[in-house]
């Protein structure tokens, strides 16, 4: 059925290219879905796209897929406002969708170019879990002949930090894996903290792997700069005021949510870091202070 085809396309994307961001894979799958959609009206298209996005969230419940889906829906609305004839509209949508995907594939390089000057020679960097954007930034810093060392948190429960350490060793960067509990201990030794983000919320805060908030609080206490690198398609229309405000569907894996058991026994996979703890965000839209993020979102959604 169409649903299974969509899920298969999505999974195939992630399998074939482990480097691709899950939001981009989702958008690509949705674009494919759009191409073979048989509807005749914009309303019909929007409702079938909403169902498609729900389907994808049931496969991968991360914030990134949700933000990618929202963005795609917004993209459809904006295009449909300009053209009233449906078939012309669909043609333009497909064309613009391809251009958009081409642009976002360059976003990691743009971010790396903006961010690597902030890594001084001899710097000691602390990072958290496994982030492909951070990896790309560090790669760019190595290419510009800087010498630095990295501390990575182990990041339980899936030991994502070990994966990051392996990738960094391949780049010949001296790396030390530390316990999640050792962040407060190591903070006095590091010069800056660099993390990725699964989602960037309206207030300028971020949603990222569990443990990020702790690192941010320690960094603030010791006056170390806390930098976040994220592509612009990760901006979501959420405004959590505290940890409880982050919706449950992001906190737990899709499989756990499906079983419908009592979530109080489950450990959340993500946490929310407030904007007051973040120094700067590096995105493909430029270097932003946390207050500039909401401006960007307003420009898009209003």
């Amino acid at each position: 059925s169409e649903e299974n085809y969509l899920i298969e396309t999505f999974r195939a994307q992630l399998r074939d290219d482990p480097d691709v961001a899950s939001a981009v894979a989702a958008i690509r799958a949705l674009l494919g879905f759009l191409k073979q959609d048989r509807g005749e009206t914009i309303q019909g298209l929007r409702s079938s796209l909403r169902d498609a996005i729900d389907t994808l969230s049931r496969v991968d419940s991360s914030v990134a897929v949700s933000s990618g889906g929202e963005l795609f829906l917004r993209f459809i609305s904006l295009t449909s406002l300009e053209y009233s004839d449906y078939s012309k509209c669909k043609e333009i949508m497909i064309e613009r969708g391809e251009i958009f995907l081409a642009k976002v594939s360059l976003s990691r390089n743009k971010i790396a170019k903006l961010c690597h000057p902030f890594i001084r020679d001899g710097a000691r960097i602390l990072t958290h879990a496994y982030s492909r954007v951070v990896l790309r930034v560090l790669e760019a810093a190595v290419e510009s002949k800087k010498r630095f060392s990295v501390y990575v948190t182990e990041s339980q429960p899936d030991e994502a930090g070990q994966k990051m350490a392996k990738a960094l060793r391949k780049l010949n960067i001296p790396v030390t894996v530390i316990l999640d509990a050792a962040v407060g201990y190591i903070m006095e030794k590091v010069d800056l903290v660099l993390v990725g983000a699964e989602g960037v919320v309206e207030s300028g805060g971020i949603i990222n792997k569990i443990g990020t908030n702790q690192i941010a609080v320690c960094a603030k206490a010791q006056n170390k700069p806390f930098y976040v690198v994220a592509e612009s398609f990760k901006f979501v229309r959420l405004f959590p005021l505290n940890q409880q405000d982050v919706p449950d569907r992001f906190k737990y894996k899709a499989d756990t949510l499906k079983t419908g058991q009592n979530l109080t026994e489950e450990h959340p996979w993500i946490d929310y870091t407030s904007p007051s703890l973040i120094t700067l965000l590096f995105t493909d839209l430029g270097v932003l202070t946390p207050s500039a993020v909401s401006d960007e979102l307003i420009k898009l959604y209003l």
């Binding site: 064309e95 613009r96 902030f118 839209l285 207050s291 401006d295 898009l300």
Partner: protein, 364 residues
Amino acid sequence: MGRRGAGSGSAAAMPGAAERGSELSEQIEAFAARLRRGGERPRSEDTARQTLSLLRKIVGNGRWSRAGELMDLIRTEGQRMTAAQPSETTVGNMVRRVLKVIREEYGRLHGRSEESDQQESLHKLLTSGGLSEDFRTPYPSLRANVIEAINEMLIELEGTTDNIAMQALEHIHSNEVIMTIGYSRTVEAFLKEAARKRKFQVIVAECAPFCQGHEMAVRLSKENIETTVMSDAAIFAVMSRVNKVIIGTKTILANGALIAVSGTHTLALAAKHHSTPLIVCAPMFKLSPQFPNEEDSFHKFVSPQEVLPFTEGEILAKINVHCPVFDYVPPELITLFISNIGGNAPSYIYRLMSELYHPDDYEL
């Protein structure tokens, strides 16, 4: 002078233009050399004015026919001038302003709406159809339009100090104790304007080793403002009695931080500790789109003679002496920026920047 006679018009025009071109090039070289030499503290407003005049000459007399060529020309000359003295950020700022003006004028002539030439935004990412501008179409009226716009900027430059001083009465109240550091002409005008209607006291930190604070104190006391000069070491001790701190700055960075005269960071930390508001008076042409990063190109070191005179011959061989001119003040320590366009919080600086400069010009 030049061969005027029968022949194609362009041949007759060439020698005259070439002479003007070399004269212009000489002027730019002289300007760059003056910047490189440093010497007396140049007033930022004067540097800005000289840069704009030079840029206006380049637009007027330079050899270009399309907007793209003009922008490349300005960019090259701009790189030459900023490389001469990186700590004089006003030069780079003016170059970027002119580049933005050229883009706008080109856009207007090209018939595009204002909105579409905005910087990268999510919106633009989703709705744009294709490639960006190439600035290739020649427009004869572009030259005049750009020169007109630069003239407007020069007029705006004249009025910046007055615009800032006009806001003084809102911020300074009677019987207040104001603290400042060093000598800033903008702060001087600000305080003088307030003194016309209010009675207040000023404490000036002398700002060693150049002690410009002394000059500031002399000028303020001429206007019958009760002034006290004290050493930099006493800043923290006196801070508990101060109501407001008002300072000037050399540069405002893109994250809302300051590059100001050496000693300002100490003052800012003392003010933060006592929860005293720190107000920065600076015109918009000092806003630079650079972030404080590895380059650290804003630092300037001058002769250490001021710190430890050469007469101390013997110990000089055994120690290192530095005399940095500037300090970095992080944005969390600043309460308010007062500029010629009004008062703004440091977190709003990104917005002001997007209005003044185009993101493609952040890197000259």
